[in-house]
Amino acid sequence: MKKITLFNILLILLLSQAFSTQALGQDQTNPNSAKACAICHYRWIETFFVEGKGTDLVEYQSEKVVATPDMCFSCHDGSIKDSRAKLGDDSGHKINKKPPSHMKIPGIFPLDDKGRMQCSTCHTAHGVQGGPDSGETIFMRTSNKNSAMCRMCHPATDGGMASGNHPAGIMKRQVPAKLVSLGAMTNKKENEILCQTCHVAHGSPYESFLIEGAGNSALCLDCHEDKNIFGPEGERRPFHVINVPPQKAKIPAEFINKGAKTGYQGSITCLTCHKVHLNKTQEPSLLIMGNEKSSLCLACHADKDYLVRSKHNLIRSAPKERNLQGKTPAEGGICSPCHLPHKPARNLKGKKDFTTQLCLSCHSKGNVGEKVIPRGYTHPLQVSPFEKRDENPFLSGLDTEKGELPLPLFNRYNVRDENGKVTCATCHEPHGLPSNSPSKQAAKGGERPNASSLLRKESPELCRECHRSKFGLVNSKHDLNTLPPEKKVMLESKDPEPGICGNCHLVHGPEKGFLWTGEDTSSDRVRSRGEVCTGCHNKTGLADKKVLQDYSHPVDVSPSDKGLTTTLPLYDSEGTTSKKGLLTCQTCHDPHRWSLQNNSDRDPLQVEPNTHNRFLRLENAPVPVLCANCHPNKALVEKTDHDLLITAPNHRNIIGQTPAQSGTCGVCHLVHNSKNKVKLWAQEFGLGTNVTERMCYSCHSKNGVAWNKVPLVANHPQEEIVNLSGKIKSGEKFLPLFDPLSAEPVLAGNISCASCHNAHQWDPTKASKGVGVNLEGNATNSFLRTRSPDIMCKDCHGFQALFRFKFFHDPDVRKMQGFTAPFR
């Protein structure tokens, strides 16, 4: 039995091989009989369909697979037709999914065995004459002319406005070229809208297979460009914003339930208010709800509801006023006098920001709000409170971080934005305030007229939000509320509620420059700089005891003209800070901050003036930081023998200040009210042949504070005129000459103390401060301009230098020659 079995098996194998070879030969002779159909109908390949088997390469195909995505891609991958961009999992009409239950698919569009849509639901190679070589690119099951095929499955989206759908058909305007370039179809007429004008069945990465995204309203605005909030030149139009997330507005859930759509990051889009398909509201413009009495507006802008009770409710305050649509407030709704969603409601003029233009469209002559017209200059608009903060560390007016500022700033959309800028609506809430707001309460009492100006806060709290650091003047001498009664009567503020800010500044209607309330004494000239200070600091002013007299530090000069640089604020002719501006009182003084020290627990009015207060921007003792900001080379005097804080702390200057009171620099130089013009000298001059010597002899004399540092012979023979041009050897440090009267540098003159000595620097080789110890000097330091061996005498006198030095610096010899040392 086993023998037979084995033999039979071997025989079968032999016969099978012979049959197999024969079969192969037959296949080779007739290989393509079914190719024309099976090239798409994979199932119909003979091996599967006739022989009923798979092969070495592929498994048996029992189900029909024509027009599956993979089959379509096998030709549309570029090898026959390139539809790669249109075929993908998410970029085309849904496949491999069942149609929604409410949708009735006509029988002409077959679903697969599982009731799912496939490519073959819409496409067939047999619907139109075609094939790979026919030139046809889309094999639809039926004609889609005028979107007929789309409408067969989607009848509810047909019928135009009457059916709650975006209109289709012939339009007045052509479909924009941009849309056409994106693939919008127009059915040969450039002004005909089809389904495929906005939708594409394949290759869309956007929602609802749109040819362009609607999440940023782009598709809508391509046709409805007149609704765009920005014009062709980029100008902001007074339309409802789109493409920004709502800030205070809240899109009601009811809207979303009705089909309202938001865009990227929840932004407002056209489709937030308009539902372009299956809209059942019967409202014009396919609105998601009616807008009678501005109800649509107020549905999102519930926070504007206070408008009803405010004087900006024109239904009450100006019922006959008409907007540009010709509608009264009652006819158009409470929002309509100022706002129309896609049109200007009022005539807007000027180039200011949209909000300002809108405010002025009423609050201007001849218009409904002319009773309240801002005159003159006004608080800056379209500026960021933060933009200059880092520019100059001395102007830290705003110490609030971005995002923490309670007052709103507005961006180019006129939407609240922490990076935005100041507009009228930063301080004013034109839509009214809650009845429990402090402003509202104050207005009710009639005690605070400003409170009725729809201000978001009362002044000065309103000012404080941005200008917090300015409130360092509270209870200082610049707090005019602290004036004694006899002085207060001198105040003639134009602000009915001046408060702490309003005594000096007017937000609306001041003279230009610092929003100053005072009268402008100059006719056409811009108020600037020191004039603001001298408005009070004059003999008849409020600060008549702090009046500039005699000689003071120069103002209205450019430090750069003197070769100086500074980080202190300089001011231009408009009174605003400028790196190229001039030095003013405010360069050194911050009129809003009495003291640099944190002594808030003390009454500033009781604090003795010192080098840390006096409204100085920087301290000036024990380190002369303020002076050093412009005069760093002079500040090297600190902690040298010439720093009297170290060497003579009890010495006083001519106004009686000790070094601790005047600061290091103030010992020798009075910034204000010096009796001496030359160098604002703060000491009594000594005797001498020129002013430079006299300044030195102020101290270096028998009765001076430096009585123990008096040279036996200090002056150079006066007969000899020296003309060294000041820069013979090592630049300006080398033997400068000074005018005997003004002490200003000159090119020709006589040698004086300062020709050899730099009173501000101890060691000529080290541009550094002193060490704080009274040192005994030598020929290499001692405030010499250069080390003795390197100079000075020998440059002019050559080999005679030593002889001359010894001869003329011997008091007795000098005496024989008729010279006397005046200080001896």
């Binding site: 071997l10 197999s20 296949d27 390949i45 091996t47 092969t55 070495d56 096998s74 090898s79 790669r84």
Partner: protein
């Protein structure tokens, strides 16, 4: 799978040797004949499989990539046509850089499909939607372009380009016009047009990708004719590889082609998802798969192929949005 079934059976024949001890001579003769027949019949029932070892896969936000090429210094260039980019990877498959964007300007593309690299490292991109071949530096800087003529009915549709440095020629496959164009590599002037629409010799129906063999013959995938046509540098028909069907040696949707060091021809079939290997004379040699399991290796929409000097096979799998890199086993020069 037949191989797997056949050899165990052969082993069984050896085991039955003691059953017929008395007639040893007859039995030996019978067994010899049987085994010979079995050995002879194995190819008729089974399929030879060439093993490949997967080295790594490159996935780089592709959108239906189509072709791949490798430079002499080992950089891997992938045509990411829907994104209109050429993406460049190092030998480990790490993205090094990419270039290109949609447009018709220099170094811009519209749905590029195929590419090649010459021996100087210059890139030749079949910029299909712009009806041209762009020649670019390694980082995409523009060098030159070849504007293809097309014909009266169809603008040119270049789907692949092959550089023949030895013959100083550039071959361009014009898919929609069913022919090949040969250009002078130095002057970029058109030398000759090969082929026309049809199913016979020297005829094409939608030629797609192409590769150059060791003898400088051109292997052109002729998609609708379901074959690979071999033509010499003069455009003369040499041979055809494969035919319509789903059996071994047959194609349903042939797409990519590459030649190994043994001058064997690798052809991808995007619908069947297999890669078959042919002798240069056209005989079926094997399919890629695992001899141990007898399973043919399946790919997801395999298209462009490339075999580099290190016997690495690069397979672009379009709908899988990846390029798979394999080590070919047992391929020696």
């Amino acid at each position: 799978m037949f191989l797997e079934n056949a050899w165990p059976f052969a082993k069984k024949t050896v085991k039955i040797k003691p059953i017929l001890p008395g007639n040893t001579a007859f039995l030996l003769l019978f067994l010899t004949v049987s085994i010979s027949l079995l050995l002879f019949t194995v190819p008729a029932f089974a399929i030879r499989l060439i093993n490949v070892h997967l080295l790594f896969e490159i996935k780089s936000e592709f959108n239906k990539p189509t072709d791949v090429s490798v430079s002499k210094n080992g950089l891997i260039y992938v045509v990411d046509g829907v994104n209109n980019k050429i993406k460049v990877f190092n030998r480990k498959g790490t993205l090094v850089y990419d270039f290109g964007r949609e447009g018709s300007g220099r170094s811009e593309f519209r749905s590029p499909l195929g590419m090649d690299i010459d021996n100087k490292g210059r890139l030749y991109i079949a910029d299909s939607g712009n009806h041209r071949v762009q020649i670019l530096e390694v980082k995409g800087d523009f060098i030159a372009e070849i504007r293809l003529p097309g014909d009266n009915n169809h603008p040119a549709d270049p789907t692949d380009v092959v550089v023949d440095n030895g013959n100083n020629k550039v071959y361009v496959v014009d898919n929609d016009n069913h022919h090949l164009l040969a250009y002078d590599l130095a002057t970029l002037q058109l030398i000759k047009t090969y082929g026309s629409y049809g199913a016979g010799k020297d005829r094409f129906r939608y030629p797609f990708f192409a590769a150059l063999g060791k003898q400088k013959n051109l292997y052109v995938v002729d998609v609708i004719n379901t074959r690979v046509q071999v033509v010499n540098s003069q455009g003369t028909f040499i041979a055809e590889i494969g035919r319509w069907g789903v059996e071994k040696g047959e194609f349903f949707r042939p797409k990519g082609v590459a030649i190994d060091k043994n001058n064997r021809v690798y052809v991808s079939d995007s619908y069947m998802g297999v890669i078959q290997v042919f002798e240069s004379t056209g005989e079926f040699y094997a399919a890629l798969g695992d001899p141990a399991t007898g399973k043919v290796r399946k790919f997801r929409t395999p298209m462009g192929l490339y075999i580099d000097d290190d016997n690495r096979l690069y397979v672009v799998e379009a709908l899988a949005n990846k390029v798979s890199v394999y080590k070919l086993q047992g391929v020696t020069e």
